[in-house]
Symmetry: C2
Subunit: 268 residues, 2 copies
């Protein structure tokens, strides 16, 4: 079993109440990597017997730092239409809500389709780049093979303000694992907090809300398989304790798989 | 009373259950303008007696087309920390969930702050531009004074594919009204569906999920007052029935007030 599947596994339920547990393989500085929490919440809808269609949108709100250990997740289809379904999901730990999520699922139909944003071009292939250093990084970072074209984690934190916090990287699960909706939901949170890059300074941070839009269907994810995806990320604005960052995840054929946005608390 | 306040009013409640009603002044083609629905859901947290702080993030999921008429809103503080508070909100109509929302509120503290995205510069002032035509537009469009610098609603729908769907406009409530969190939440949905601009074609559409990050605090909103804000919008990707669009709302001093993202269903 891949460590990602262990970290995001839910004990099966026919009622929408699931049991789960954090995994040391995806530990962050405090508690688990938010990406695995997001994937676990999505799994509670994906694995619900009443589910229809595939994920279109997921918003996860991190209400408190998750503690290492077990938790419960409850998913509820609040509205099921002919081709769309709306979910409310809560993660409880020690009797309190630690995270909430809403998700929209849909059965897609073929329509006119067209990109507007485009992936950067003329990039080196992943095998031509070194894997990013894991020295001093928490466990979850070791579960991704990241190869930066631009905007890797600074090699020194000297507090020198940078002009921007843009990143461009190849990234895949480590060890390799075929991409699916759950792993894409987690990968949407793998872009380091932009404040570290912009300020070349480590300050206490925590994502408070994470929204991901899925542009890929299951067939596109299957075609991507275990190949590295291309990620592009940047910050929007930092102000009085909160900043937001946006990112895109592109397939190796440069099709958009997901676009994602988050707002992050920071101190100092 | 300003028509916006009428449209988003909730009958007061000490229990987190509120009554509201759609307003003809903000009617859309079918049902009410989604922006007023978003503002109404936010109001259910803003007006809740247990609320702390100011809005940081709001995600609204439109589970079905709202019918004209009355509805109930229930807001619940699922977690209250020292400086942050997480909300779950549901709008019920005719015994069914028609919309859900989650919101994060926080008491902000002064920290290092810095923009990363920036507003376009060298723009004509609003008074130098004509107000956008209201011919054939639904009622809610008449409740905004929009002056386009770029990317207005096409004057013909000839189906000619455009290179992009970017818009840049000055916009304010009509009649003028001092900006607050509720009106900013509504204004985040005033950017026409990008598919109309990109394809110069009207197709059936409906926003399914809308996320807004608030960068402004109450003092910044008070400083903006009734002056027009600057909006910038674009699409990200259109694929098999769903596209996403992103927008920013800037103050007249070119400070970011809000960044906003939505995923929209479209047919054909």
């Amino acid at each position: 079993m891949h460590p990602f599947d262990t970290a995001t596994a839910l004990a099966s339920s026919s009622t929408g109440r699931f049991g789960g547990s954090t995994s040391p393989a995806y530990a962050n500085m405090v508690g688990p990597f938010g990406g695995t929490t997001a994937a676990t919440l999505l799994n509670a809808a994906l694995q619900h017997p009443a589910r229809i269609g595939e994920p279109i949108a997921l918003t996860v709100n991190f209400a408190s730092a998750l503690a290492d250990g077990s938790f419960e997740v409850e998913s509820r289809a609040v509205r099921t239409n002919r081709s769309t379904q709306h979910w409310a999901i809560e993660l409880m730990q020690a009797g309190e809500v630690a995270a909430t999520a809403t998700a929209v699922f849909a059965r897609r139909r073929e329509t006119w389709s067209m990109p507007e944003a485009s992936a950067p071009s003329d990039l080196p292939e992943p095998q031509a780049l070194p894997r990013a250093s894991l020295v001093g990084r928490p466990a979850w970072v070791q579960r991704y093979d990241m190869r930066f074209i631009e905007g890797g984690m600074p090699d020194r934190f000297d507090g020198e303000l940078q002009a921007d916090s843009r990143s461009c990287l190849w990234v895949r699960d480590e060890p390799p694992r075929p991409l699916d909706f759950a792993s894409l939901a987690a990968l949407a949170d793998c872009f380091f907090p932009r404040v570290f890059l912009r300020r070349r300074k480590i300050v206490p941070i925590g994502t408070v809300s994470l929204t991901t839009y899925f542009h890929a269907d299951a067939a596109m994810l299957a075609a991507q398989g275990e190949q590295p995806v291309l990620g592009t990320a940047r910050a929007v604005n930092f102000r009085n304790g909160y900043f937001d960052q946006s990112a895109e995840v592109w397939s190796s054929r440069r099709e958009l798989l997901a676009s994602t946005h988050q707002v992050v608390y920071y101190r100092e």
